[in-house]
């Protein structure tokens, strides 16, 4: 099919359009962050690193960044075991009330984030745990959990049940088989899901607004509440910091898992 010229042309035109469409805001923001002027403009006025200096000099920024990394870590730690087990349960076993459970596990997406955020503020408030970072991690995990489950699901789908049977035949107990055969085989899915959860938690601000106060503010909330007030190029500089994270994590993912492991077709 892909050899047919019209199809090839159609696919490539859409892909080129998508690449520009996806990349354009990123490119604009990155370039604008190096402006020497006081305004976020494109093309930037001159070149300077002044906004980066300003940003790195801000104690609030460094502290908020540290907290966001913690939140993202908590989120990932909650997501990995729960998402992996749920994916195994869903794909491997026949479950009663499957339809209802499907809709239940879609609630993170069907409930507006503003509503989830206010609801969780009351829940965590009643539990007397507001003011710590782990509830924020738990909240960011809850609102994005379907992504973790689906990433692992597609790995479970790929997993050959004979592997586990072979392990059992060789005398492995169920737990041994689980930890030495199943989990390693699912690793690509787990790591992809974990990366996605980490990124989404690192950027979350709508739910977090209700769960943090000024003394434990996370980076996206800090950005949303303080920099949104006066849009200076530090906003863009923060984004470039995020992009550096992106490049490091994507590189790491490629090294550990191989970026294209899932997508290479037979």
């Amino acid at each position: 099919m892909f050899r047919a010229a019209p199809f090839r042309i159609a696919v490539w035109s859409v892909v080129v359009f998508n690449i520009i469409f996806l990349g354009l805001p990123t490119v604009v923001i990155v370039l604008a962050s190096f402006t020497a002027g006081d305004l976020l403009t494109f093309p930037p006025e001159g070149f300077s690193l002044r906004w980066y200096e300003r940003l790195l000099g801000m104690r609030d920024f460094r502290e908020a960044l540290g907290r966001s990394l913690q939140v993202a870590l908590f989120c990932t730690l909650f997501a990995m075991p729960s998402g992996t087990l749920a994916a195994l349960a869903m794909v491997r076993y026949r479950i009663r009330f499957a339809r209802t459970l499907q809709l239940y596990f879609l609630l993170p997406f069907t409930v507006p984030l503003v509503v989830s955020g206010i609801g969780m503020m009351y829940v965590f408030g009643d539990m007397r745990v507001l003011g710590s970072l782990w509830p924020v991690g738990l909240a960011t995990c809850a609102i994005n959990l379907p992504f973790m489950i689906w990433s692992v699901s597609s790995a479970v789908n790929r997993l050959d049940p004979d592997l586990e049977n072979a392990a059992a035949n060789c005398g492995a107990t169920p737990l041994q088989a689980f930890f030495t055969v199943t989990i390693p085989a699912l690793m690509p899915g787990i790591i992809t899901g974990a990366l996605l959860m980490f990124i989404l938690a690192l950027n979350e601000f709508i739910v977090s607004i209700f769960l943090v106060d000024a003394s434990i503010v996370t980076l996206p909330v800090w950005m949303y509440t303080s920099i949104r007030n006066i849009i200076t190029p530090d906003l863009a500089a923060v984004s470039v910091v995020y992009i550096l994270f992106a490049i490091v994590s994507i590189f790491a993912l490629d090294r550990w898992v191989g970026l294209d492991i899932f997508l290479k077709s037979k």
Binding site: F2, F7, F17, G83, T110, G119, F205, I243, K266
Partner: protein, 321 residues
């Protein structure tokens, strides 16, 4: 990998300790769940995820409760009695009706456009022989994720503004300015760009599962490319399309940040109206009622889709494969 040392006599003390731990856990497990009780395994596996999503559900009890209470404007407390007034209000207010209409029509446009744009991207990513191209496409997909919605929306402000990039280029070409920013079109552009990576990521695994030999066989039997696409590839990719539809539809339906920043205040979606009720009007009951309505409509539409099209790759079991 972990298990590769199994059986070797010179295993380290740490490894031995781990074996013993696993053995002990196994013994405990079989004592606790002998034979038939193993049927409970999937339900036990679901407990942690169920509880985590349960935090949202617990919050919904507060929301549901306050949606049935009316705000008293002399004490700014909610009434003790329950009533359906907040729900009646949604039905009666013209503003809410037009916000609901804008949200659902916008979500439909975004979902369809994202599916159309995602398929070629996912297809090329899956089928290309070049590892470099595949990685580049994936990288390009993941990068915007890291940027977050707010920053991306500000990127669009710079691109689409009156004195922005697009109008700058149009000016150079001697063409008239466009005023797209702060219209529903700008919101749609922002939403499509935001949702595109989600669409591709949900579609790609389904395409991976289609053996390229099947395409070759179809063409070997004389089918044209569009016949192969329509009769072979698209039907086989259906689970992926269902998954992408569900994700793009539900997230767009409840989106807040992009309409808030790119809509200029007059192109609100339901989530913005909920925000306004909660915060600008200080009426938690009104906001909650609107939230409940959105959740019910969204969940109903998804279950209809599941009933018609199967659950795709977001579902349980391999029934759809």
């Amino acid at each position: 990998m972990q298990g590769s040392n199994a059986g070797r006599a010179d295993a380290s003390p740490l490894t031995r300790a781990r074996w013993r731990l696993t053995d002990a856990a196994d013994t405990m497990l079989s004592a606790l769940f002998p034979g038939r009780a193993r049927r409970l395994t999937p339900y036990i596996f679901l407990i942690p995820a169920f509880l985590i999503v349960g935090v949202i559900v617990a919050g919904l009890f507060y929301i549901g409760d306050s949606s049935l209470r009316v705000l008293d404007r002399s004490t700014f407390l909610q009434s003790e009695d329950y009533s359906l007034e907040n729900y009646v209000n949604i039905y009666e207010r013209a503003g809410y009706r037009s916000v609901l209409f804008r949200t659902f029509s916008g979500t439909a446009i975004v979902t369809i456009t994202v599916l159309l744009l995602s398929f070629p991207y996912a297809y090329l990513m899956v089928r290309t022989q070049s590892s470099f191209l595949r990685k580049f496409l994936l990288f390009n997909l993941f990068l915007p994720f890291f940027l977050g919605q707010v920053v991306r929306a500000y990127g669009w402000l710079i691109i689409l503004g009156q004195e922005g990039l697009v109008n700058g280029i149009l000016g150079q070409l001697g063409l008239a300015n466009i005023s797209v920013l702060y219209t529903n079109t700008a919101v749609l552009i922002g939403l499509i760009q935001y949702m595109l990576p989600f669409g591709v990521l949900m579609l790609a695994p389904a395409l991976t599962a289609i053996d390229s030999d099947i395409e070759a066989a179809s063409e070997g039997l004389g089918a044209k490319w569009y016949q192969t696409l329509w009769h072979v590839v698209l039907p086989l990719a259906k689970p992926g399309f269902v998954a992408a539809t569900v994700v793009v539809f539900t997230i767009t339906l409840t989106e807040f940040a992009i309409p808030a920043i790119l809509g200029g205040g007059t192109n609100d979606y339901v989530a913005n109206a909920i925000y306004d009720a909660f915060f600008r009007v200080s009426d938690m009951g009104a906001g909650s009622a609107l939230g409940v309505v959105l959740i019910v409509i969204g969940t109903t539409l998804v279950s209809v889709l599941f009933a018609l099209m199967g659950t795709g790759t977001v579902g349980f079991l391999k029934e759809d494969k």
